[in-house]
């Protein structure tokens, strides 16, 4: 009875790997679509404060980022432990915000300029003094749309 010949005993057949590239490609595509390139190297420690009533930023490409926080360990020797402002890749003062905003505005197309959002990502232990200075400076360069970065919580 040929039908009932036992298969070669015990051996587990190897799993076919022919579809592995496709699977990996799929994951790859997912990551390419859902993530964005890291644009700047974070030089300040930022732990965003928690909030419940947060809204999503609609157009990521129209936003500029201002990071505020204490310098990370490797920069402490150079810049101290006071809260600092990071624009693009370097530590800056409030006076530099004007140039930064002007440059960011220049990068956008004319149609999009009124919708530019400045996202302030500040550490939760930052004192408001520095934030107030930033806000005043932003008002002076009439970049009025802002967003206080926060993470969902509580």
């Amino acid at each position: 009875m040929a039908k009932f010949i036992k298969k070669e005993s015990g051996d587990i057949p190897a799993i076919g790997t022919a579809s592995l590239p496709d699977i990996v490609f799929m994951i790859l595509m997912f990551f390419m679509v859902s993530t964005s390139m890291r644009q700047t190297e974070r030089k300040v420690k930022v732990v965003l404060p928690q909030a419940t009533e947060i809204a999503k930023l609609e157009r990521k490409d129209l936003s500029s980022y201002i990071y505020v926080g204490t310098p990370t360990n490797q920069y402490v020797a150079q810049y101290g432990t006071e809260s600092r402002i990071q624009l693009n890749d370097s530590f800056r003062n409030t006076d530099d915000i004007r140039d930064f905003i002007a440059a960011e505005r220049e990068n956008l197309s004319e149609v999009d300029r009124p919708f530019m959002t400045v996202s302030i990502k500040a550490d939760q232990d930052t004192r408001m003094g520095i934030i107030t200075d930033i806000k005043q400076e932003l008002r002076r360069c009439s970049a009025l749309k802002i967003m206080y970065g926060a993470r969902k919580g509580k």
Binding site: F31, A51, T52
Partner: protein, 193 residues
């Protein structure tokens, strides 16, 4: 004679190659969501506006202050953050027409008809020493109060929650229940130090 067929490319290393590409993308990209509290800063006031500001009726303003020790005061009373939301809601709705709470006005909104709106403005003031997390916490409570009022309003008008309305109706509700928060000029804050 050599066969004319081009030899097939060996595809077994495809998995490895795409793994490398995958790992590259995992390293250089971020997935952090852009979330936060949206605000519109007021434009720098001109001289005329400064004079006008002082004319706003006292009863239409609630001052929410946070001092340098992160203590919260609302309408000159010390207050716990958890109670702020109800205070703001009471302030903005003025259910019993209290003469100390803000006036109301009836305004015609296209698509909604006449709507009773509060003239109340929340003035948020902070010290230079206030921590950012406290500030956001208070902002959050104010937004929550306004969001709940919007929910109430849209329940009354459309029988649906605000979040479930389509965007045109959301715009109308936003107009009817504005988020009138003024973030004070910092120089006022310095004086109070």
């Amino acid at each position: 004679m050599a066969s004319k067929k081009t030899p097939e490319i060996n595809g077994s290393s495809m998995a490895d190659i795409s793994f490398i590409a995958l790992i590259f993308f995992l390293m250089v990209t971020t997935m952090d969501k852009e979330e936060g509290i949206s605000r519109r800063l007021p434009a720098l006031p001109t001289e005329e506006q400064k004079a006008e500001d002082q004319k706003v009726n006292r009863r239409n303003i609630i001052e929410v202050k946070i001092n340098s020790n992160d203590r919260l005061f609302a309408g000159n009373q010390p207050m716990d953050v958890r109670l702020l939301k109800d205070k703001i809601k009471e302030f903005l709705t003025n259910p019993n027409d209290d003469p100390n709470l803000p006036e109301k006005k009836v305004e015609e909104i296209e698509g909604l008809g006449p709507v009773t709106m509060s003239k109340g403005v929340i003035s948020l003031q902070n010290d230079r020493g206030t921590t950012y997390s406290k500030y956001i916490e208070v902002q959050n409570e104010i937004i929550r109060a306004v969001n709940e009022l919007r929910d109430d309003f849209s329940m009354k008008t459309y029988g649906k929650k605000y979040a479930k309305l389509d965007s045109d109706k959301q715009d109308l509700v936003r107009k009817a229940v504005p988020q009138s928060v003024s973030e004070a000029e910092p120089k006022d804050v310095k004086k109070k130090k």
